[in-house]
């Protein structure tokens, strides 16, 4: 039997917030949390409108991730140019104030993850930060499990290469 919508919020709100935070939080601007709040609200609104049409044997967690991904990718496309500028400024500021610190490495790694193609970024985040299995990732991103595995692998390879390049 499908869980109640109230239960979906109880069970999945925090992980969806974290997912969107990780997808969008490349720059960790001060208003990032508010931006993610708006998106989380949108995810649950869309989910509520469509919940009656969800098949009883579906995985509601993967379904919510799918909606979250769709919302995030739309948002990412919309703000891409603006964010790239902001990112450059942020990195410059970090370089001058904290050139050797861990914060710098973390910011740079976030920035590199944000530079991955959207699907690879989502796959890496879903696998290693959200702990979804490949079947759930496939459902969340509407692709095959093989494609999910390939995107995780390619994402990691690409990150590794970018890290080596920048060192």
């Amino acid at each position: 039997m499908a869980p109640r919508f109230e239960q979906l919020i109880e069970r999945h709100h925090d992980e969806l917030f974290a997912y969107l935070w990780r997808l969008l939080g490349k720059d960790r601007r001060s208003d990032a949390a508010l931006e993610v709040e708006d998106l989380v609200q949108e995810v649950f609104m869309r989910a509520y409108e469509n919940y009656a049409r969800l098949r009883p044997d579906s995985n509601p967690r993967a379904w919510l991730y799918k909606i979250a991904g769709n919302c995030a990718f739309t948002k990412l496309r919309r703000v891409k140019k603006w964010r790239e500028k902001a990112s450059e400024l942020g990195n410059r500021a970090l370089t001058s104030s904290d050139s050797a610190g861990r914060a710098h490495s973390a910011a740079r790694l976030r920035s590199l993850v944000g530079d991955l193609p959207a699907r690879q970024q989502a796959c890496v985040t879903l696998r290693y930060l959200q702990d979804l299995d490949y079947s759930e990732i496939a459902q969340a991103l509407n692709c095959s499990e093989e494609s999910a595995r390939a995107n995780v692998y390619q994402g990691i390879q690409r990150l590794r290469a970018m890290l080596k390049e920048k060192l």
Partner: protein, 209 residues
Amino acid sequence: MIKPQRINQSSMIQQLRSALGDPPPTALARSEARVKRWLAQQAPLIRWGEMNSPLGRLFVAVSDRGLCAVDFGRSEADFLARLDPLARLVKEPKAAAQTLAQLREYFSGHRSGFDLPVDLSMLTPFQRSVLDTARRIGPGQVWSYQRVAEEMGSPKSSRPVGQALARNPVPIVIPCHRVIASNGSLGGYSGGTGLPAKRWLLRLEGASL
């Protein structure tokens, strides 16, 4: 700094975890409260209550439109799981008091019918029509599935009639237990313990079986 020799997969995943990190707990709490506030404005409210009955623990639920569920012989969790998944549920015995009082009178033999608004909005027009027809069966009487179908003007629909009765969300109040098979056997019953509950209700009402 990240050193080249440390870039193997597991260390990179650790670095990823630490770099992408967790959102601030205050932001999480604020966001969850906001989503719940929105749901409170959006979702219909269903208030429910419970009582002991001769057929076991009995639960009732009331929406803004009226009584929307009666269930007995099941666990609380099973009862709640059957209610509209998009609604908010609140245990509020006051809201269910009128229904529970009438059910108590019924079980003690002091009431033969119910005077309650009923919310059948979750059902199809056909299901509503079947249940409206079943409401016309008086206490102590039994009709066959075939007769219900005929009364509705759909004499070939006795099987769908049986299926619609099995989905009656408010058994006892809408007396689907008064519908039996044409051959005089009890047919089916999805409430509580099934056929023993159906037999018990019919005996309470003085139906000759």
